[in-house]
């Protein structure tokens, strides 16, 4: 559906994206994930037609679209700050694109009402000025305005970043459901790894304008292709040389001794697991942080400070200073 072919974007002397190659499938929820300034929004704006690449080609639906103006690419976009027109009502905002296309008034009203119902906006809200709506409602208006023209692609530039945590979780579910319902190809930009993991069909992880890995959320999380992806997505224990030596000695002999080694927090158990091969290492509890459904333990072990997630309700809690045994599956160690 969408293809970035050797896309390069420069701003004066600065190369924001050196060479981008990506493909997004029809109906896919595709996320561009990365820290601030990594080039993900630049890539999205290039796809939208707001930035002209200095080299390469963008294909939409198999056709070259690099030279097409944004309004001819059949893309709808939801901006980070929603970009709602403050001088217009909610209905006028949603109908703006239809008005530009000189759609008949009755048809405009019908389409606006239809999309408003889909994004759960009431008729009272349609009559209001956009400033009278809450952040979540404004976000719905922005989505409705982008979708009312029935674009082939929906672009979302960190649309949840201005909302509070609870609303963000609620809206990301609704957004995903809406996308699934409409089957629209969606490109989503975020720096929030949790958002990316929970919503996406596939994720492209950006770093300094370069895509480090493209894959499903599971692939990105469990089989991170690069050290950057491993450390950027999810929390990690970085293992020291001394710890690795002990781990190899205790049963992880297949692990390379001279590589950077990482272990996810949930891959460290403080009680012997019922299944799976694991090796034991000893340590001392340094700290425990209670987090409701689970606790995060910090254990000093062989020169490493290891964190472990332990669900509530087990035989623990252990107190600081207590001896602890770590159970680790060597195959869970990621090395780069």
């Amino acid at each position: 559906m969408i293809r970035f072919d050797d896309i390069e974007v420069t701003f004066g002397e600065h190369i924001a994206i050196p060479k981008l190659n990506l493909e997004v499938e029809q109906g896919e929820f595709f996320t561009l994930l990365g820290p601030s300034g990594c080039g993900k929004t630049t890539a999205l704006r290039t796809l939208a037609g707001f930035i002209e690449p200095s080299a390469g080609e963008i294909y939409i639906g198999g056709k070259a679209a690099t030279k097409l103006p944004s309004e001819k690419r059949s893309v709808g976009m939801v901006f980070q700050n929603y970009a709602l027109f403050p001088s217009m009502s909610v209905r006028e905002n949603i109908a703006f694109g239809l008005k530009v296309r000189k759609t008949h008034r009755a048809e405009t009203d019908r389409l606006v009402d239809e999309i408003a119902a889909q994004v759960e906006l009431t008729s009272e809200q349609l009559a209001k000025n956009v400033s009278e709506l809450s952040g979540g409602q404004q976000q719905r208006v922005a989505i409705a305005r982008a979708l009312v023209l029935k674009p082939r692609i929906l672009l979302l530039d960190e649309p949840l970043s201005n909302l509070d945590a609870k609303l963000r979780v609620q809206l990301r579910e609704q957004l995903k459901n809406l996308q699934r319902e409409l089957g629209i190809t969606t490109v989503y930009v975020t720096h929030d790894q949790e958002e990316a993991l929970t919503m996406s069909d596939r994720i492209a992880v950006f770093n300094h304008g370069v895509v480090e890995q493209v894959g499903t959320p599971e692939e990105i999380y469990n089989r991170s292709a690069t050290e950057f992806v491993a450390t950027f997505v999810g929390a990690m224990n970085r293992l020291t040389g001394e710890f690795m030596q002990q781990l190899r000695h205790a049963g992880g002999s297949t692990l390379a001794p001279d590589k950077s080694s990482y272990l996810r927090l949930e891959k460290v158990a403080l009680q012997e697991p019922a299944h799976g091969a694991s090796v034991r290492l000893h340590g001392v509890i340094a700290d425990r942080v209670y987090q409701g459904s689970h606790s995060t333990y910090t254990i000093d072990s062989h020169g490493s400070r290891i964190r472990a997630l332990v669900p509530e309700g087990g035989a623990l809690p252990l107190v600081a200073g207590a001896a602890a045994t770590l159970y680790i599956d060597p195959s869970a160690v990621l090395q780069y």
């Binding site: 944004s70 709808g76 027109f85 403050p86 400033s131 305005r145």
Partner: protein
């Protein structure tokens, strides 16, 4: 702001039209007249000549006027700071009972300045003035001319030019992080030590800026020396006016205007340099709003209260008397004997019922309205082009449009008179001097920098994502401009129009050089009323004019700043810039933008709007 090559810019026919008109306007009305002034002064016969300079050196009057101007400017730099800082402190920093009322009294200069203010003081304190006459009844030996010359000019201009302090210094004061004051107090610092070591140093750049503005105002003062200076105290500007009337001394007038312009440029450059030299305001991530400070020493508290209210009376009395006198028979004012029978509406009836008396008022309203509308309409397009297309061409044009900010109005007016007194091919071979058009052109010119700067800020405050959103929804540039951008900048444009209108209404400085004899503006009529010995009817009519002006200006200020109640008033007092109506959803519903020029504006404006006029 977007970068855009000039080639990309020229793809739009609308932009091309705007640029062509702009280049013509800049060349014809901004560059040519001022270049012509320089050439006619130093190359009168096509060869370099210092004849004008020699004339200046040999003219005692001219040299004296130069000395007087610099002496006045230096004096004002001190007196205006003393009064202005005091006013800001008692209204915004110290806990003073009735500070809002005090603020209203001090703010009278916002609606009352220039020739009107000078004439008002003359009618009250000058020879034949009400107070002077009343005093003469008690002390027959006092000099009836006691309120004239250097002293009178300094007093009037000191009171008239504290407006800058109220607007800009008040704004700076509001930006001080209150936690720095609390921290100082926590370490045992007294009220005065905090003021001296924490507050005033933080205000230093703004104090410097307003000092420069004050100095420039003093240097270029026209109306106050003209009305109150008498024969012994004339400054550069009145001299320029006098010399420009004769063709034999026009080169001298031009040279004096150039000296005034040079001094302005040097001082503004100095001010820019100082302004860039450091951070004085809060470095806190979350600054705490300033809270008013009690004066803990009871004696000091009483003294400050007394001084604040005495000053209030000084400010408010002329305004109150003018309103009162506008309802009095002229003989009652001159004799100083007021009874209930003296009150009359005859003065108002004369103004509204006599076409010839009302005419100056109408002429000024028409000129001000036309100029304000033209400049805002024109700059709407220009600001949009400058904001959207940032490249060396637009940067150069923008700099050139700021010429009226670095040159005194008198110089601009004189340059226009001297350039368009013969057929000029750039204006289709027409002569503009002596026509009604030239004054309108001058009004448009002098309002360009202020208008452009604020409209550009208004456009810049509209998030780019709004334009992107319109574009991705299929809207073209004109449709986006009409439906998305203009509604957002309209409140700012309306506010600028109102402020421009206000500041031109009682103009004298420009009009005196460029007016058409058959269409004499209000400033000239008021000035005429101050001349002669016993022009009592003219005086009464001037009082009515003044009251009408104050009503219009007060109403305009309320429209621009006051709507929205206390928030609006804080806007004026703190100079907060909400020029960005439309910075986000709902911004259009915000009150009218408050384009009070802050320090940035002050840096390049010898007379920002609203400006003290004296």
């Amino acid at each position: 702001m977007r970068n855009s090559s000039w080639r990309a810019m020229l793809r739009s026919p609308l932009v091309v039209i705007v640029l062509v008109v702009l280049v013509w306007f800049i060349a014809t009305f901004l560059v040519l007249p001022n270049a012509n002034l320089l050439i006619s002064t130093f190359f009168p016969d096509g060869k370099l000549s210092f004849r004008a300079l020699e004339k200046l050196i040999s003219s005692e009057r001219a040299l004296k006027s130069l000395w007087h101007s610099f002496a006045l400017a230096a004096t004002l730099a001190v007196t205006v700071n003393v009064v202005g800082i005091f006013i800001v402190l008692v209204t915004d920093y110290f806990k003073i009972r009735g500070s809002r009322v005090l603020w209203l009294g001090y703010a009278t200069t916002l609606i009352y300045g220039g020739i009107v203010l000078a004439a008002g003081y003359n009618f009250i304190y000058g020879k034949n003035g009400f107070i002077t006459n009343a005093a003469l009844n008690v002390f027959p030996d006092i000099d009836p001319n006691w309120f004239s010359g250097y002293f009178a000019v300094v007093v009037v201009m000191t009171l008239a030019t504290t407006t800058n302090h109220m607007l800009f210094l008040g704004s700076s004061l509001a930006k001080i992080d209150y936690q720095t004051i609390e921290a100082a107090r926590n370490m045992g610092a007294s009220t005065w030590r905090i003021l001296w070591r924490i507050v005033l140093p933080a205000l230093r750049p703004m104090i410097f800026a307003v000092t420069v503005l004050t100095f420039l105002t003093g240097l270029g003062a026209l109306t106050a020396p003209l009305v109150l200076g008498g024969t012994d105290f004339q400054t550069i500007a009145p001299m320029i006016l006098t010399f420009s009337k004769s063709s034999g001394s026009r080169d001298l007038a031009a040279l004096l205007a150039i000296i005034l312009g040079l001094a302005t440029i040097v001082l503004l450059a100095m001010m820019n340099r100082v302004e860039k030299s450091g951070t004085y305001f809060s470095v806190a991530k979350v600054a705490t709003p300033l809270q008013k400070q009690p004066i803990r020493n009871p004696l000091a508290n009483v003294l400050v209260h007394v001084a604040a209210y005495v000053l209030f009376v000084v400010y408010a009395l002329p305004v109150l008397l003018i309103v009162l006198f506008s309802f009095l028979e002229s003989t009652a004012i001159s004799t100083g004997t007021i009874t209930w029978d003296s009150f009359t509406l005859a003065n108002y009836a004369t103004v509204f019922g006599t076409p010839s008396v009302l005419k100056p008022f109408v002429v000024s309203v028409v000129y001000s309205a036309l100029a304000s509308l033209i400049v805002v309409l024109g700059m709407l397009f220009v600001a949009r082009v400058f904001q959207k297309h940032r490249n060396p061409v637009t940067t150069l044009l923008e700099y050139l449009l700021h010429i009226p900010w670095i040159l005194p109005t008198i110089l601009i007016a004189l340059a226009l008179v001297m350039t368009f007194d013969r057929p000029n091919p750039l204006i289709g071979g027409q002569v503009l001097t002596g026509t009604t058009v030239l004054l309108l052109v001058a009004y448009v010119i002098v309002k360009i920098p202020f208008t452009l700067r604020l409209l550009k800020a208004a456009f810049a405050s509209v998030p780019e994502s709004l334009e992107d959103a319109a574009r991705i929804l299929g809207a073209g540039p004109l449709f986006t401009l009409r439906t998305v951008l203009v509604p957002l900048v309209l409140p700012t444009a309306a506010a600028i129009t109102a402020l421009n209108f206000n500041s031109l209404l009682d103009d004298y400085d420009t009009a005196v050089f460029l007016y058409h004899p058959l269409y004499e503006p209000l400033g000239l009529a008021i000035r005429a009323s101050t001349e002669g010995e016993n022009n009592l009817d003219a005086m009464s009519i001037t009082f009515v004019y003044t009251v009408l002006l104050m009503i219009i200006m007060g109403f305009t200020m309320w429209l621009v700043y006051g709507r929205g109640g206390a928030r609006g008033r804080r806007g004026v007092r703190r100079g907060t810039r909400r020029a960005g109506a439309g910075a986000g959803p709902g911004a259009a519903a915000a009150p009218v933008a408050v384009p009070v020029p802050a320090a940035a504006v002050a840096t390049v404006s010898p007379a920002p709007t609203p400006a003290p006029r004296a």
